[in-house]
Amino acid sequence: MNQYPLWKNLLILAVILFGLVLALPNLFPQDPAIEVQASEGEVDSATRAEIAATMENAGVPVKAIEKREGGKALIRFESPDAQLRGQATLDRTLEEGYQHALTQSPDLPGWVEALGLQPMFLGLDLRGGIHVLIDVDMDAAVTQALERLTGDVRTLLRNERIRYLTVGHEDGRLEVRFRDASVRDEAAKLIRREFRDLDITTGSQGGDAYLYGSLPPAKQEEIKRFALEQNITTLRNRVNALGVAEPIIQRQGERRIIVQLPGAQDPARLKDLLGATATLEYRLVDTEHAVQDALDGRVPVGAALYYERNGQPILLKRRVIVTGDQITSAAAGFDQQSGSPMVSVSLDGQGARQMRRVTTENVGKPMAVVFIESRTVTRLVDGEPVKERVRSEEVISVANILEPFGRRFQTTGLDSSEEAHNLALLLRAGALAAPIEIVEERTIGPSLGQDNIDQGMRSVLIGLALVVLFMALYYRVFGLVADLVLIVNLVLIVAVLSLLQATLTMPGIAGIVLTVGMAVDANVLIFERIREEIRNGSTPQASIHAGYDKALSTIVDANVTTLIAAIVLFSFGTGPVKGFAVTLFIGILTSMFTAILGSRALINLIYGGRRVKRLAI
């Protein structure tokens, strides 16, 4: 009696061994490291040798420089201090076109790495870093699309010489006013043919004939979806340009984007770059009219009033020569003559043609560069959050056109080389398809992350020790069995977390601690049942059998209900709470396995298949 068949013992053993192997990578320490990647191509062995030489010259001790997947290189350091000095050295010496980022990397032996095993994925609260949640203003994307359509319709009517009174958009629909209905009907036919996406309706009001165009819901959804995807791409470009190891950029729900940068430490710079929609516009200066007139409120037709950085007002022509959309590449640098920071810009074909035509016609006249920045902020107005777009337009440079130019040229007038860098980065990464706003930020410094790990580990170990001690004293041999399976349970939780690469957060550690407390419950139920059976006069073997048997359905019921709570937590929770739900969920499953099957197997090995007079319980 009370013997498991061999296959069952082997199966349990196999699961435990498998768990041990999966949990193994967590035993190796994390090296402070720097990841180096090239904007184009890879970091070759020559560059790696160069880095090694530079580090040696600077007196920074390096543990190893390794080749990594995706043409990256990883520099390992002995200490965080060396890592920071290494970063400073790279800042000074690394050429343009390479990015480097602080990271941590486990120092795994070759064979562990060859198996593709990885340690648990630590959340930002444990490793430090920046987390931001971004809200995408989808309605603005639709409005922008409508604005574009309005412009296109106006151009179409003008080109086809159809006489209209006004073209505009209001309340989410396009509105064109005509003097009479026959012209409107002609226009309607034309617009229907040219813009298949628009639902066209007609009407009349106050003697005028109207044409309305609206975007069907399906089309609006498509625009929104596209805006979100486009924004994710743009944000990814921007983040990649920052040079952070293992960034996470993913969609959350209908209109949110999560950006997580492990190890990053400058939230101000990140937020500036993510939220900004900086771009440039090139316009001619209006020299025919007086600035004073515009200041007095009489802005001349075809011109607009701008201000330079020093507050000086200036009149610019309304027509834009080239916008930021037409910029294909941009790089920051210094002007060779003046030494001031600049951005060198390349235009696409159309932009280059326009630029060449305008500059050819206007040699000797001044041209202005407008720096446009906009961001969305939510303000509380009477307690209610209200979204507002803040747009700033500044003229950063005015210069006479010395000779015609086209595809490539420089723009100066930037405040600092950092501003030049940021602008170049934003121009390269592309524009956002819809305005965004940062609605949540959580930044954890690296030292706090380490503190959290230490505190978490300590409470797990001490809590575990207390429970182990109690069980051993109270249930003796059976208690030791429960202790052993409890430890196996911890190993299995770590193994499953490593396998799934689920994020371990501080509340996640709390979940593990809680599981430790609750995991013994199954064994307590069984052992109390066995004691009861013994009291009722059953033989030891029969008591063991009945104890496990009768406790089973209770254990399952009790655990399923906790599973329900964990699932609800997972589906409603965000970030840290999700981490708790995940470990709780995994912990319940593994504890059921270890506490029921694992402990039974051990008890069977100890007592099974022989005459037992008394149980040490």
Partner: protein, 315 residues
């Protein structure tokens, strides 16, 4: 040989005291409800929105100096306090009309303070939650508790019987109300992790309840004699040592977590400690008493259903 035992075959008349328990619980519930309605919660940043900045100075600093520096920059609604030592500073900025509702306020604070500092200044932690996110999290939190309760109600009703399900859910609501009531009464900060703990309390308390219900069902089938009260009492007594031991081990680790786990999860551990204590009590006095009061009877649980989706291997 005698083994270590907390209780020797107890015969406590738990259900005989169910009226006293009902009065005590009722009074507690009224106090908790009143506190929640009148006093409300000390909602943390997660639910109210706003900004928290934790800074580490190399040299000891004065709170008043920091307040003054911030005030010069027009940041007047910041609460500055020590956090552990006189070199660790915590700054809270409530959401308000104007710029403080945006994510950039923390950057301004850090810039202003680092310009002013002698020695180093480390940015340890920034948490910013926008007003709309805070509102969403509050809503989602309420929904989560609701869905967890419904899910459990359905499961218990399917596995047992509706009277048990109602008893279990009554006990759960009692526990949830008591736990959050304590957070309201003592004005302990209530953040997302506390909400997670409340949901874990639901799971835990139910665990306890199920164990006793299971035993009541078993005893109804096994014991031919005895009133409902007698059988219920017997069941509670039979499972009592298990109840105490499991609550005890869970409390042990929770205490370790509360003492050693650090500020970040102190609220979480506290909520669970309260929850485990009240959960143990409610299992006996609320869940079982409610099921008895609703009139569970032997007939409801017979004939025995087919048991065991998990089949133990019998050699």
């Amino acid at each position: 040989m005698a083994h270590a035992q907390i209780l020797k075959d107890s015969h406590i008349d738990f259900l005989g005291k169910r009226r006293i328990a009902a009065i005590v619980s009722g009074a507690l519930m009224v106090i908790c409800l009143l506190s929640i309605l009148l006093r409300g919660f000390n909602f943390g940043l997660d639910f109210t929105g706003g900004t928290v900045i934790e800074l580490g100075y190399e040299q000891p600093v004065e709170v008043s100096e920091i307040t003054a520096t911030l005030a010069e920059e027009g940041i007047v609604d910041a609460t500055v306090q020590y956090f552990g030592s006189n070199r660790d500073i915590l700054i809270r900025i409530a959401p308000q009309e104007g710029e403080a509702a945006s994510a950039t306020i923390s950057d301004r604070v850090f810039r202003v303070l680092s310009a002013d500092v002698e020695g180093g200044l480390e940015l340890r932690r920034v948490e910013f939650v926008g007003p709309q996110v805070g509102e969403e999290l509050r809503e989602q939190g309420g929904l989560a508790v609701l869905f967890a309760l419904i899910g459990i109600l359905v499961y218990v009703a399917l596995r047992f019987e509706w009277r048990f399900a109602v008893g279990a859910v009554a006990a759960l609501m009692h526990d949830v109300l008591f736990t959050i009531g304590m957070f309201s009464l003592f004005y302990i900060p209530f953040d997302l992790t506390v909400l997670a703990a409340v949901l874990a309390v639901i799971g835990y308390s139910l665990n306890d309840t199920i164990v006793i219900f299971d035993r009541i069902r078993e005893n109804f089938r096994k014991m031919r004699k005895g009133t409902v009260i007698e059988i219920s009492n017997r069941s509670v007594n039979q499972t009592l040592s298990r109840t105490i031991i499991t609550s005890g081990t869970t409390l042990l680790v929770l205490l370790a977590l509360y003492v050693l786990g650090g500020e970040a999860i102190a609220g979480f551990s506290l909520a669970l400690i309260i929850g485990v204590l009240v959960g143990t009590y409610s299992t006996i006095y609320i869940a079982t008493a409610a099921a008895v009061w609703l009139g569970i009877s032997r007939a409801d649980l017979l004939p025995p259903e087919k048991e065991g989706t998990l089949v133990d291997d019998r050699p």
